[in-house]
């Protein structure tokens, strides 16, 4: 149903465009998106340029909390894609969205270690060992919130000591304000371990890190909502972006970059 309505929406936006045709100046939209969407949205942007509306997409990738506050302060954008519902609600409560938001993708957390493994981390329990340098996102950043929740869940599992969560968090040496900074610190070998999204272990990053998987039942399912913004100067193109994202092409691109496309409604 969602797919059909997405295609229908796309057709609807194409009709006026067919009339307006070649004389139009290149359309441009600005998308504020969570840092973890960098690779996937980058590819989507290229696809947008090639479609019938040939829209250029400009991005602002940052921690979702930073984007939300920028939008509140009057930043001009057409679309907002957050890494958690919390910051989408923040933006919605301030009447900055045009219509309801949609969850379009999911992500999972993973622990990454530098290839050289300076902290000698072999399993998740090792993260609680004294002296291990752990880098995570700050509490306000979606990945930071998910990380803390994940460690609390791990604590309740058999095989993990009772104060596991506290011990791990006591090992945090830096709280980054977006997930990519966490990746960087691990890549550089400065951190013994970092907690990032699965999608952050890109082909470019993979050679310098080792991933330590987190059991599914303890892992957090990150949900990414997206919405067109009320202040959009080109809501047609904005909706076209959403349609592309929610359609088969978008889902393919998301999956390619390590994200899980959201279930389509029956």
């Amino acid at each position: 149903m969602k797919r059909i309505s997405a295609v229908f929406l796309l057709l609807l936006t194409a009709v006026p465009a067919l009339g307006a045709q070649t004389s139009a100046a290149p359309r441009e939209i600005t998308v504020y998106a969570a840092a973890s969407l960098t690779e996937a949205f980058g590819e989507l942007g290229k696809l947008m340029e090639q479609d019938s509306l040939s829209t250029r997409v400009r991005y602002n990738f940052a921690g979702s909390q930073q984007l939300a506050v920028q939008l509140e302060q009057g930043a001009k954008a057409d679309v907002f894609a957050s890494a958690d519902q919390r910051w989408m609600d923040y933006v919605r409560e301030r009447h900055l969205t045009a219509g309801p938001s949609k969850i379009f993708a999911h992500n999972r957390l993973v622990v990454i270690l530098p290839k050289s493994n300076p902290g000698h981390v072999r399993e998740l329990q090792d993260l609680a060992r004294g002296g291990v340098k752990l880098v995570v996102g700050a509490e306000a950043v979606p990945v930071g919130k998910y990380t803390r929740e994940m460690f609390r869940r791990l604590e309740r599992r058999p095989g993990f000591p009772p104060a596991y969560g506290d011990s791990v968090l006591a090992n945090v040496v830096s709280q980054e304000e977006n997930v990519k900074s966490v990746v960087a610190k691990v890549q550089l070998g400065e951190a013994d371990a970092g907690v990032v999204y699965r999608s952050d272990v890109t082909p470019r990053v993979a050679p310098s890190v080792t991933a330590l998987e987190i059991p599914d039942d303890a892992n957090v399912l990150a949900s990414y909502p997206i919405a067109v913004l009320a202040g959009s100067a080109d809501s047609l193109a904005a909706r076209a972006f959403l349609a592309l994202l929610l359609g088969p092409e978008g889902r393919r691109v998301l999956a390619k970059h390590g994200l899980t496309p959201a279930e389509t409604m029956p």
């Binding site: 506050v69 300076p118 945090v172 830096s174 304000e177 070998g189």
Partner: protein, 280 residues
Amino acid sequence: MGSTLTSGRASERLVLGLHVVASAVLVTLLGLPVVALVLRVPPGQLLERLRDDALLEALRLSLLTSVFATLAVTLLGLPIAYLLATRTFPGKRLIETMLELPMVLPPTVAGVGLLLAFGRQGLAGATLAAFGLSIPFTTLAVVVAQVFVAAPFFIAATRAGLTEVDQRYLDAAATLRSSPSRTLFRVMLPLAFPSLLAGAAMTWARALGEFGATITFAGNMPGVTQTMPLAVYLALQTDLDAAVAMSVLMLALSVGVLLGIRLVTPRLLPAGPLARSPGR
């Protein structure tokens, strides 16, 4: 320089008018943000915010690290400024350029450089580890980052101050058989002191405001590496009013110190025949 406004030439008036306009534009550009910050915070709220532990931690850290950094820069910068001012040696041009580099380097780039040099896997990483030193993520890293970005200011100001010392005083000292060190401490430094102080003030100010290199090299950890600029930046992402309140606090601190230095400097100048003309 006492041209009066009643000068007959209209062109002179025009030039003066342009001066005034240009000044007004710059003063507005620089002053309005400051005014806007102050107006945003009700004074009562500011005092209440001072009770916030996180804010006090950030403030303590900022003051501690910036003062240490300034002291370090002064102690290490004075010798090199003296050498640059008084001697020539092979590679002097190269050293000069290297010392000016941090001023033009974007702070975040500086942070990456510091990591690649002094980080665990950095060029000096293994050496430091041998001494049991691991710098990133520590308060020391904050000081190092501040020293890196702020040192050029002190060195440039001090070198200029030492160079400006009138050669006649140095000659007089020489005829009185004063050794170079004695001349340095008894003649050059006192005369160059206002420049030194100005350089130290700029260094301190730059160290206090340091952000990019700090967050990259030292990381962000309340109580350890989260200085005021980092705290403001993070607060900005969740609580605008807290960020503004902290900003005003930093403003008040900076203004206080800068004003203090301005007021104290004239009194520190040597009096008598060596006295400088006021307004220098």
